[in-house]
């Protein structure tokens, strides 16, 4: 019985995603109402099934995790290795899953009207289904492989939703930038998974927390592995949650339509990194160092986001950096060991921010109404004349904020440029090689032309 319920919870999104993907693949024209109703229905079914698990848990206040295995993909008993889909229903995953369903359902309803007649309506709902599936899998994951599966789906759909308006340059370039950062964090997560498998033979999270269940720890892993895997996990979380120094992708995510922006930096995607940290929090308990790294990262991010957020002049960037401030704080809370507080913080913050983002286009009207009630135009500025704050330090901090901490330009000059020149060298070598093998003699000019083309492409 319970297996059926679990299957429904994760199967509904997966099936819906598969169905949509298949229909669009064969080029079947889909009506808007079908997409809207289908998405809503799938979310309701999944949510209903989820509640049948959640309600008894809440009523009995029984937060111990229950692990369900669905499929065995690889099983090598000889080397004590297996890879399978596992889902964990505990005090961490169930509230997060409910939040995911609630927000995805609301935003799907919102998007039905908002994107009406939009040329990419079908594409949006396909990507949205992918996002929802990814979130559900990642949140309910009982093992690191399952988490990775969801994690990837979330990343892919996020990048594609940012590049939703694919006929303009900006969104596509920004989607690519986000994708590149996500790849770094994905690589870290994958390495961590490999490390865990090496050490423990499997990637179940229960391995980290032992029998006690989340958030308690039994210290099952050797210390060096714990630190190594922990650092990789932190790196992965930092990329996904736009923690410093990966924060530069956050404002770029605004290129998509408002509902998808709301899902990202408002609500779900940006908290996924924090969720990962919560999930592996038994590791943090094991090592003072890891906790300190997490606290430090959170503090730096918060300070960074506060400064940058102060100077933003557009509503979506303002909200994005406000989100980041809170995510930084959540990370600090996790590092300090306040697990339930952090969970509550995530739930509340995600809901609040989603509402704010959905209402963001009302900003002008809201300000006029508030101004009318106040009897004066709304002005958020410090000081009446702005003359107070012209000191050298203020100029410096202001510029830091306006330039978003120079992360972008440093990323471009310190990371991307050397990387691309290495790649360009490789390409040059390769084409020279090829030409030499072909026995052509006008090697240098051709090669230069090629490299020139690469320049343009960048």
């Amino acid at each position: 019985m319970i297996d059926v319920v679990v299957l429904t919870v994760v199967g509904a999104p997966t099936l819906w995603l598969g169905l949509l993907g298949l229909l669009l693949l064969v080029g079947c024209p889909i009506r808007e109402s079908f997409l809207a109703h289908g998405t809503r229905l799938a979310i309701l079914i999944s949510l209903g099934a989820l509640l049948t698990i959640a309600v008894p848990m809440f009523l009995l206040a029984d937060w111990s995790g229950k692990l369900y295995r669905v499929g065995e993909i690889v099983n090598l008993p000889a080397s004590n290795f297996h890879l399978r889909l596992e889902f964990m229903f505990d005090g961490l995953s169930v509230p997060m899953a409910i939040l995911t369903h609630l927000l995805c359902g609301t935003i799907a309803a919102f998007a039905t009207n908002y994107l009406h007649k939009e040329i990419g309506f079908q594409r949006f709902f396909l990507l949205f289904a992918m996002f929802w599936t990814g979130m559900t899998l990642a949140v309910l994951a009982g093992s690191i492989e399952t988490l990775f599966l969801g994690w990837e789906l979330v990343g892919l759909s996020s990048a594609l939703l940012v590049a939703f308006f694919q006929d303009r340059v900006g969104p596509v370039a920004n989607g690519l930038r986000i994708w590149s950062i996500y790849r770094c964090s994905d690589a870290a997560l994958l390495l961590a998974a490999v490390l865990l498998h090496h050490a423990a033979g499997e990637g179940e999270f229960s391995e980290l927390s032992g029998r006690a269940g989340w958030p308690h720890s039994s210290g099952a892993l050797p210390a060096d592995v714990a630190i190594g895997a922990g650092l990789l996990f932190i790196l992965a979380a930092a990329g996904k949650s736009a923690l410093w120094p990966f924060s530069s992708w956050l404002p770029r995510a605004m290129e998509g339509p408002t509902p998808s922006s709301a899902v990202f930096y408002g609500a779900l995607s940006i908290h996924l990194g924090a969720f990962l940290l919560l999930r592996i929090s038994p590791l943090l308990d094991q090592s003072q160092l890891l906790s300190m790294v997490v606290v430090g990262l959170g503090l730096v991010t918060t300070l960074y986001a506060v400064v940058v957020g102060r100077v933003q002049t557009d509503v979506k960037s303002g909200l994005a950096f406000a989100s980041l401030t809170q995510v930084g704080l959540i990370v600090v809370e996790i590092g300090l060991g306040f697990r339930y507080l952090a969970l509550l913080h995530i739930l509340g913050h995600a809901s609040l921010r989603t509402l704010q983002l959905l209402r963001a286009p009302s900003l002008l009207r809201d300000y006029v109404e508030l101004g009318n009630a106040l009897g004066a135009q709304v002005n958020n500025r410090l000081g009446k004349d702005g003359r107070k704050a012209n000191g050298r330090w203020f100029v410096w901090i202001y510029r830091f904020g306006l330039e978003r901490g120079y992360i972008d330009v440093l990323w471009a000059t310190v990371v991307l440029r050397p990387l691309s020149s290495v790649l360009r060298c490789c390409r040059l070598l390769e084409s020279e090689w090829l030409l030499r093998l072909n026995g052509s003699d006008d090697t240098p000019t051709k090669a230069r032309q090629n490299s020139h083309g690469l320049d343009q492409w960048q």
Partner: protein, 1031 residues
């Protein structure tokens, strides 16, 4: 390399910047959106010339694409008769000059319009010709007769030993011989039809290519004669440094420059959203920029390495922005004559932000925080500076070092002329030859000059010209339908159905705005209550004022933008309620302070934590608002009504003796009051036969989550809501003192006539009445009757609007329709709360009795004017001076936003992001988007406004001639003009500078019983019909 700049240089720069600024969008803050012609800078040119110019300057298209016009043809919004008629008129005398065989220019052009002529880049064409069946099979849409004629003709010609053609030159005979020797005569005898088809087409293709070649060699001496035809040449076209470097090196300087400028400019113009204000803002754009970036070590963008160094040098030398611009021009070696052009192109790299700076600079009164004069110039200086830094760095990286020689090479770079045009022309010829059945043997014997004529014809009739004909035909189709409708209406005996019997007093008279959206409400009122009369007047109702509502903090101007009101009017609580209102106000203020601090805290650090902890509760309003918008808003309104403003308020209309501040002239003098009332009543011709109840109705629109909300409001109130104007007018007209003075002037308003103000929300079709308590008890039954009529009419109005909304469903009934539009207005996720002016197409100035009973489909602005009461034409003169610019502005803004939504409009609404409390960007960093969004214009049909004036052609001609603004837009045909004779009922249309009689086809307009019968189940535009006939 410091070039001292002289005073004259500085003057030249200032004036060049000022004239360059005219090319920028004129849109101010979104808080008060005013419609205006997007191409206002080109109004001095004839319309289609202006479109050509716009193409080169803005890179935007001024007409729909050819395929869109074909779509309109399929939907019968354009008819082929109109296309042919327009084409004939366009060609004029040249219509019948023969091109090839018996084919005239008209035939060729008509063929090119009827059949899509494919064209592509050279590579694609080569592929198409050699790989597809284009060289082996005829086009599918070729007339079978032409096909057979071509094949049999070729067969007859080439089945004999000698083809017997006298060829024009030796090269032709060379390739022809080569072709013939490829297929020997004996082989040709064995060919079947398919083989002959292949041969015919190959021959045709080769002859077309040969013809184009021959003509191309002629072109050298032919050039001067044809250049004046269509393409306006662009003088002084030095390419921007960025464009030159882009073609030369392939790196886009604008990427880095724009990114930095967008960030900085949005901080500079921010109206109070950011928590920290830009340091040194008060010292101006240039100084603030220098101060911010001079000491930076890390460049703000990787393209701008070395910016800090350059700026600190500048800071030390203390140069003015003008000097910086001057030096940049010297560095680029741009002569003074080309400055304006260069500035224009440079500013147009970010037209939205540059335009906003100019608006804030020139109209500081319209914004919360204006910017100092000269900001646009400083913006330009900073931009040129950034471009120079980026270019120097780029040239250095490329090993070109910014030497004069390198820059000169950059400057002189011109795009390579299109080499593929000959192939394109040949392919077009090839298709036309097939479609027209031009035989190869005819083409082979054409002389060089004939070839020249044919090729010129084809190149001259390019995509732009074809679209121009389609556009003219689109307009002509609508014009014919509307004018025929008007003509048919006057020939029908209508006395029995829509008019109130002249002997009876009208049951009420309803005066609304001329707005196209009020047309349907007027029509429904008349259908529900045939005994009423309706009028249209610009929605400020002759009461221009700065108004402050009881719950507002500031005075806002409520009148057309061209007027500057002299009077301030305030809404205050009546004496009995004043104390109660004061306490509510305190509550509201307390609430606002809390709301604002919540809003700000949630963006901050610690406050955010507290709020986030309680954030789960925000799921409740979120889910409610998204899933049940109407219900939620009703609850919200109930809650708000606890501290709503008092039920009874009054307007400070009289100029009290106690006005302390001289500049704040509160209220109107008696003379002004009388003048206002007299003005409106005489303009609309309501000077006798007053009903007992005269209602004046202002309008506005309220919708949620819509940054462009004010664009939906009343255009005649400068993007404000016209309710207060209607209310003020009625209060004035009800005053005995005013009536007394009016009677002295001969305008007698009966004592039993009462004026009542009301407000119509065009988004949710809600209505609101003002000062009901002042209605005399004797008029209560009349009032009740009117209100009942209004309830029915507004529901029907909602029903008519719903036919445009897909989500409303087709067969919706009036009550459900009303609910539907209310829900739309309250829905956070709704991007189309209403369609605004999207259907506007015409403007009719004249008596309502002559348009009443015609279904105008919410497409016409209706201004009331009675020519019988206007002997000297003064009334018409002032009506047109006020009405035409407003309507033309709305119409042209819709036109341009529709034909190129990305460049003239603001693109899709979905990624919009409110910035600096002024405008919207796409995503986090883009240009400020101006114009209208895709969601607003998607159903719009781009037609130039058709102005129909009930006046003789002489009088109209005279008015147009003497008013410079009308002169420009009418004679340059930015609108279409028609004079409708008040006596004979004949219609004349303005063609060129003269009026020509409109020859309609009478009796074609259908008759239906009611509006509903005509529009039900139909979402498309509908043509005019006569309503209410007994059939």
């Amino acid at each position: 390399m410091f070039h001292p700049s002289t005073g004259s240089d500085i003057e030249a720069i200032r004036s060049a910047v000022t004239s360059a600024s005219h090319w920028l969008p004129q849109q101010g803050s979104l808080k008060s959106f005013v419609h205006h012609n997007t191409l206002h800078a080109l109004e001095y040119l004839p319309f289609f010339d202006a479109l050509r110019q716009a193409e080169t300057i803005y890179g935007a298209q001024g007409l729909l694409s050819e395929s869109s016009y074909r779509l309109e043809l399929n939907r019968e919004r354009i008819t082929w008769e109109q296309v042919d008629a327009v084409l004939r008129q366009d060609l004029g005398q040249a219509c019948d000059s023969v091109l090839v065989g018996t084919d005239t220019r008209f035939d060729v052009r008509a063929t090119m319009l009827r059949h899509q002529i494919y064209t592509a880049e050279a590579n694609e064409l080569n592929w198409l010709i050699h790989e597809s069946s284009a060289e082996r099979r005829f086009r599918a849409d070729v007339d079978p007769r032409h096909r057979m004629g071509l094949i049999t003709g070729t067969r007859r010609c080439f089945l004999s030993r000698k083809h017997g053609l006298t060829l024009a030159d030796s090269r032709t005979s060379e390739w022809l011989d080569a072709l013939l020797s490829e297929h020997s005569l004996s082989v040709r005898h064995t060919w079947d039809d398919a083989a002959w088809e292949r041969f015919t087409l190959r021959l045709l293709w080769l002859s077309c290519q040969a013809g184009v070649r021959r003509q191309a060699s002629d072109r050298a001496w032919d050039d001067d004669t044809q250049s004046s035809d269509s393409q306006p040449t662009n003088t002084g076209s030095a390419p921007r440094l960025r464009d030159a470097l882009w073609t030369l090196v392939g790196e886009d300087l604008d990427v880095g420059v724009n990114e930095v400028l967008i960030r900085f400019t949005s901080s500079f113009v921010d109206q109070g959203f950011a928590h920290w204000s830009l340091p040194n803002r008060e010292e101006g754009f240039f100084a603030a920029f220098l101060a911010l970036y001079a000491s930076t070590l890390t460049p703000p963008h990787e393209q701008l390495v070395g910016l800090g160094h350059k700026l600190s040098q500048l800071q030390r030398s203390g140069q003015s922005p003008e000097q910086v611009v001057c030096e940049a021009m010297a560095w680029l070696k741009i002569p003074r004559a080309e400055w304006e052009h260069y500035f224009r192109q440079t500013l147009l790299a970010l037209p939205g932000w540059a335009g906003m700076l100019w608006q804030l600079e020139t109209r500081p009164d319209r914004a919360n925080a204006g910017v100092p004069a000269g900001s646009l110039l400083e913006f330009l200086a900073v931009r040129l500076l950034l471009e120079q830094v980026a270019a120097e760095q780029l040239l250095e990286r490329q090993g070109l070092t910014g030497s004069a020689a390198a820059l000169h090479a950059v400057r002189c770079h011109r795009p390579i002329p299109n080499a593929s045009s000959d192939l394109e022309l040949a392919y077009a010829l090839y298709q036309v030859a097939q479609l027209r059945g031009w035989r190869p043997e005819v083409l082979l014997t054409l002389s060089d000059s004939d070839w020249g004529t044919v090729c010129r014809e084809l190149t001259g009739f390019d995509a732009f010209q074809r679209c121009r004909i389609f556009q003219l035909a689109l307009e002509s189709t609508y014009r014919h339908r509307l004018l025929n409708g008007l003509l048919d209406l006057q020939s029908v005996d209508r006395s029995s159905w829509v008019e109130p019997a002249s002997s009876r007093r009208p049951s009420f008279q309803w005066i609304a705005c001329i707005d196209d959206r009020e047309e349907s409400l007027r029509r429904h009122l008349e259908e529900v209550e045939p005994d009423c009369q309706t009028f249209g007047y610009a929605g400020f109702f002759a009461v221009p004022m700065y108004f402050r509502g009881i719950d507002e903090s500031h005075f806002t101007p409520l009148c057309p933008v061209v007027l500057k009101p002299e009077n301030h009017v305030e809404e205050v609580a009546v004496d009995q309620q004043r104390s109660k209102w004061a306490s509510t106000r305190r509550w509201r203020r307390w609430y606002a302070v809390q709301a604002l601090s919540v809003h700000n805290l949630s963006r901050g650090l610690l406050g955010g934590v507290g709020l986030a902890m309680m954030g789960v509760f925000s799921t409740v309003p979120m889910v409610m608002r998204v899933l049940f918008p109407r219900l939620t808003s009703r609850w919200r309104r109930h809650a708000i009504s606890l501290w709503a403003y008092p039920a009874e308020t009054e307007l400070t209309l009289d100029r009290g003796p106690s006005v302390a501040e001289a500049e704040l002239a509160l209220g109107f003098t008696l003379d002004q009051q009388v003048a206002a009332v007299a003005r409106l009543l005489t303009d609309i011709g309501l000077t006798r036969d007053f009903a007992r109840l005269v209602i004046v109705c202002g309008h506005g629109s309220a919708s949620l989550n819509n940054p462009h909300e004010s664009a939906y409001n009343c255009g005649a109130c400068g993007g404000g809501r016209g309710g207060p104007n209607a209310r003020a007018f009625c209060q004035l007209a009800n005053r005995p003192a005013v009536r007394e003075r009016l009677a002295e002037q001969g305008l007698v308003i009966p004592a039993d006539t009462h004026f009542l103000g009301m407000f119509h929300n065009t988004c949710d079709d809600d209505v609101q009445y003002f000062d009901l308590e002042q209605v005399p008890t004797t008029h209560l039954s009349a009032l009740r009757g009117f209100q009942e009529t209004m309830e029915t009419a507004r529901a029907r109005n909602a029903q008519e609007r719903c036919r445009r909304f897909q989500s409303a469903g087709v067969g919706i009934d009036p009550t459900a329709a009303l609910k539907h539009v209310q829900e739309r207005a309250e829905d956070l996720s709704q991007t189309r709360p209403e369609y605004n002016h999207a259907t506007n197409a015409a403007c009719i100035v004249g008596r309502r009795s002559r348009t009443r009973g015609l279904f105008l489909d919410r497409r016409a602005f209706l201004a009331s004017y009675d020519p019988t009461q206007d002997s000297d034409g003064e009334i018409l003169r002032r009506i047109l001076a006020a009405v035409v610019p407003v309507c033309a502005g709305i119409n042209l803004e819709y036109y341009f936003s529709r034909v190129d939504t990305q460049r003239f409009g603001c693109g899709s609404k979905l990624p919009h992001n409110v910035t600096s409390l002024l405008g919207v960007m796409d995503g986090a960093a883009s240009d400020l988007r101006t114009g209208l969004s895709e969601q607003m214009v998607e159903i719009h049909q781009p037609l130039r406004l058709l102005l129909v004036v009930e006046a003789t052609r002489e009088r109209l001609q005279d008015i147009i001639r003497t008013n410079p603004q009308l002169h420009q837009i009418c004679y340059n045909h930015w609108i279409q003009v028609a004079a409708w004779s008040p006596d004979s009922g004949e219609i004349d249309v303005l063609v060129g500078h003269e009026f020509e009689s409109f020859l309609g086809s009478a009796g074609e307009t259908p008759h239906v019983g009611s509006s509903w019968e005509w529009f039900r189940g139909c979402a498309d535009h509908l043509e005019p019909v006569l309503i209410g006939s007994d059939r």
